[in-house]
């Protein structure tokens, strides 16, 4: 039971190993841990954009990238709240902006996809190579 409880402690902070430390870690997780998660999400998103054939899946990967950036913002916002920086909520405000932009972009993107499908009858991006020499 203690091992399971101290596992988040491993994840977030390696300070003493006591239950209070673990709890502390759970209550106040280290910033870098959030950033790492955000980076992992970002990389997964980029990999998806670069490698997937299905254009809808590419869009989903783009969303993933955007959300990874959101996660970064929120982590920083929380960090600044805890450490007493100026304007700690600006990260969360910015996140809301990004969500809006992501939504608009998705709408436009899907419009492009539909136009593309109507002309090319395909959703596989490797078949759309008119600009090839």
């Amino acid at each position: 039971m203690n091992h399971l409880l101290s596992l988040p402690g491993f994840l977030f902070q390696d300070s003493g190993g006591a239950a209070s430390t673990a709890l502390e870690s759970i209550k106040h997780p280290d910033l870098s841990k959030f950033l790492v998660i955000g980076a992992i999400l970002f990389i997964i998103g980029v990999a998806g954009v670069l490698t997937r054939r299905n254009i809808i899946v590419i869009f989903m990967s783009i969303e993933l990238i955007l959300n990874a950036a959101n996660l970064n913002f929120i982590a920083f916002s929380r960090y600044l709240q805890d450490t007493g920086g100026a304007n700690p909520l600006s990260g969360q405000v910015f996140t809301v902006f990004i969500i809006v932009v992501a939504a608009a972009e998705a709408a436009i993107g899907l419009g492009i996809v539909i136009a593309l499908y109507r002309n090319r009858e395909t959703i596989w991006v490797d078949e759309i190579d008119l600009m090839k020499w």
């Binding site: 980029v46 954009v49 670069l50 490698t51 490797d126 759309i128 190579d129 008119l130 090839k132």
Partner: protein, 765 residues
């Protein structure tokens, strides 16, 4: 009065300038032009007369020293220092002297004689010309040229140095050109004037080389200095050739050109294309005598070269007989007189060559009288015959032109050498001096040639008089002669029937000068009366030409200028040789003998010089008589005889009639060859020189074509090939980036992003 001789050349020049410059502009009437011209010459003559009188006989007489003007004289060419590279000096190395050529006039016995001849005979001719040229549209131009000629001639004879003589020399040559070519519309006149000028120029070349030699030898050009220095030089005996001979040769060539001696005589007969007063003045009395003047002026130099003296005598003798034989067959009255002039000039050169310079000048004087007289008489005849010049169309003119006839007779008798006319005295003295000369060998040959020439002279002059004035009239019904001498004369005669002209006597302006000259031709010879008549002495003091001119003639026997006989009026005057050569004067005093001497051999038989002279006088008269007799026989008594003999001696006749083909010979060798040379040089210029220029242009164009070709095909080709190669090489490689696959592009963007982040991180750490 002799101080004012500088006016003498100036007056004719002023008259010429006024007539020439203003005569046309203001349209001077003929009388004004004539008045100015004749007036200036008359004034010049008057001044000359009084000047010579005061020089020789007046209270301040300067004779025998030469007088050089100081009034109105100026330094003409301040030449600076010259080195006498050719002459001797005391130190043995060339000395330097100051060559200042001044413009001043010299009055001495020689120039006095010439001044009087030029202005006196010139005055007669000017008066004649006012009548002869009447009606000619170029009246003012004629007298302007004549005035210019008088100025040049007077500068020539009155100048005090050789350079002034040369100025006058060239000036008279120019005026001769202008006056011979007076009728410039006629081809014949234009060609003749050119021929005269060019032939003269050949002579001038020799003359100017001689002047250079004189300046290089003596360091000065003034007569007084040159003559006194030259006297001190050693005499170059026969067979040797030295400095004096070279200078004398140059001078002789100049004299041959100006005085029409063989081989430069060709211009004088052609010069008859000019108006008759020109022929009288220039080609009888004055210009052609310039050579004689020069010869006598430089007699010191000539007598220092015995070889040149012989050359002068031989050239003179040859010319005398050569021209006389041509004159025998000529039909134009003026041509006969022209050849007669050449022949008589030969006599004068003969005299100078034999050492009798004074007698040569004496003959110049008498010849001026009778030849000018005869030329003016011929002009009167031509005028009266309405410009007929062919003697075959004349005859019996004594009936129509009495004044002309009687005055012409005086000239005829003078030139034939009949006593007591002037020509006899001078010609006889020439032949006597030729036979008795001790300065050159072959005196006897020269005498013989001269005597034969004198016979020919008498013959052809009698022929001229007979064909013109005696015998049958041959002009009725004939048309004009082809040679017209002035188109204005035609206008004057208006509506005359030209096909049967009656000859008429000339106006007073024309026959009065004839009378004056006839008087001079008759009595003018007594100033040189032969010693045979006066008991072996030259009588008359300074009025005797021999006494008058003796101070300027160098005597090689005594090596000084004074005479062998002392003069009564003045003390002995000696013009000393320069001191450093006084040791030479101690040498040879007696005359050298040069082989056979005709006079001496006769004298040995007769034992008296006077008797020997009488022998020669008689011989002269006899040969003159033979000449006249033959002339009368052939042309008065039996006129057919002339044609008979012409046919019998046809080759000789043709040679004489064609002037021995000298003109054709010159044309073939000199004139045509010069034109060929000109043509050759022109061809060279147009083909070789222009060819080089054009060729270089052609080469440049060729080079530019090659360069263009190279540039277009090689350079550009290389550039294009490289470009193609590079494109073909790189294109597929670079093309590969364009996959058209959006996700590739996105990949590139991500790689770029990672690179930037890595760069930032690594840089930071």
């Amino acid at each position: 009065m002799f101080r004012y001789i500088w006016l003498v050349p100036l007056l004719p020049l002023a008259g010429a300038a006024i007539n020439g410059i203003l005569g046309r502009w203001f349209r001077f009437p003929e009388k004004l032009v004539a008045g100015i011209a004749v007036g200036t010459i008359a004034l010049a003559f008057l001044i000359s007369l009084t000047a010579v009188y005061s020089y020789g006989f007046g209270s301040e007489q300067q004779w025998p020293k030469p007088y050089v003007t100081t009034q109105a004289a100026f330094t003409w060419i301040p030449g600076g220092a010259v080195s006498q590279t050719l002459g001797y000096s005391e130190q043995g190395s060339p000395t330097a002297s100051l060559l200042n050529i001044e413009w001043s006039y010299q009055l001495d016995p020689l120039s006095a004689v010439f001044m009087l001849i030029v202005t006196g005979v010139g005055l007669c001719i000017f008066v004649f010309a006012t009548g002869y040229m009447h009606g000619d549209p170029g009246f003012y131009r004629f007298f302007a040229y004549m005035g210019l000629f008088m100025f040049s001639m007077l500068v020539l004879v009155m100048g005090s140095n050789f350079v002034m003589m040369f100025v006058g020399w060239e000036g008279v040559g120019l005026c001769s050109y202008l006056l011979i070519g007076y009728y410039f519309n006629k081809d014949e006149a234009a060609n003749a004037s050119r021929k005269a000028f060019i032939t003269n120029r050949v002579g001038d070349f020799g003359f100017i080389l001689a002047i250079f030699g004189i300046i290089a030898t003596f360091g000065t050009a003034q007569y007084t200095d040159v003559i006194s220095k030259a006297a001190g030089y050693p005499v170059e005996i026969l067979g040797t050739w030295g400095l004096m001979s070279w200078i004398a040769l140059g001078l002789m060539i100049g004299a041959c050109g100006k005085s029409a001696q063989f081989p430069l005589h060709v211009w004088l007969p052609d010069a008859m294309a000019g108006p008759t007063p020109v022929s009288a003045l220039i080609h009888a009395a004055t210009m052609v005598t310039a050579g004689l003047y020069m010869l006598t002026r430089t007699n010191v130099i000539f007598q220092h070269s015995q070889t040149m003296m012989l050359v002068v005598a031989l050239v003179g003798a040859f010319t005398a007989i050569f021209a006389a034989t041509i004159g025998i067959t000529q039909n134009d009255i003026k041509k006969v007189l022209a050849y007669s002039t050449v022949s008589q000039l030969g006599f004068m050169f003969l005299a100078c060559g034999a050492g009798a310079f004074i007698i040569g000048i004496f003959h110049v004087m008498t010849h001026a009288f009778f030849k000018a007289l005869m030329f003016l008489g011929a002009g009167s005849v031509i005028h009266g015959m309405h410009h007929e010049q062919d003697m075959r169309k004349m005859g019996n003119l004594r009936k129509y032109m009495p004044y002309t006839y009687w005055t012409f007779l005086a000239g005829w008798l003078a030139i034939c050498g009949i006593i007591p006319f002037s020509g006899f005295w001078s010609k006889d003295e020439i032949l006597w001096n030729a036979a008795s000369t001790t300065q050159i060998p072959l005196g006897w040959l020269v005498w013989l040639v001269g005597t034969i020439a004198a016979t020919c002279t008498a013959f052809y002059m009698t022929r001229l008089v007979a064909m013109t004035f005696w015998g049958k009239e041959r002009f009725a019904g004939h048309e004009h002669g082809k040679k017209h001498e002035g188109h204005a004369q035609k206008k004057e005669h208006g509506t005359h029937d030209h096909h049967a002209p009656t000859p008429h006597e000339s106006p007073k302006s024309m026959w009065v000068p004839l009378v004056v000259l006839a008087i001079l031709a008759t009595v003018g010879g007594f100033v040189g009366i032969s010693t045979a008549f006066t008991g072996g002495k030259h009588v008359g003091g300074r009025m005797n030409i021999v006494n008058w001119m003796e101070p300027i003639i160098w005597n090689p026997a005594t090596k000084s200028f004074h005479t062998s006989e002392p003069l009564s009026a003045t003390a002995e005057v000696k013009i000393e040789a320069t001191p450093h050569t006084s040791e030479l004067s101690a040498e040879t005093v007696e005359p050298e003998s040069h082989g056979f001497n005709l006079a001496h051999s006769i004298e040995e038989r007769l034992h008296s010089e006077t008797a020997t002279e009488w022998v020669f006088i008689v011989i002269s008269l006899v040969v003159a008589g033979i000449g006249i007799g033959l002339g009368l026989l052939f042309y008065v008594k039996s006129p057919a005889l002339a044609d008979v003999w012409a046919t019998r001696l046809r080759p000789l006749y043709l040679a004489s009639y064609n002037k021995y083909w000298i003109d054709e010979f010159y044309g073939l060798t000199i004139t045509r060859r010069t034109m060929d040379l000109a043509r050759g040089v022109f061809t060279f210029d147009s083909e070789v020189v222009d060819g080089v220029v054009n060729g270089s242009a052609w080469t440049t164009r060729l080079m530019s074509k090659i360069t263009g070709f190279t540039d277009k095909y090689f350079v550009d080709g290389l550039v294009n090939a490289i470009a193609n190669f590079v494109v073909r090489l790189m294109s597929p490689i670079v093309r590969a980036a364009q996959t058209g696959f959006t996700q590739n592009y996105a990949l590139v963007m991500v790689i770029g992003l990672l690179a930037a982040v890595a760069f930032y991180l690594i840089k930071v750490f």
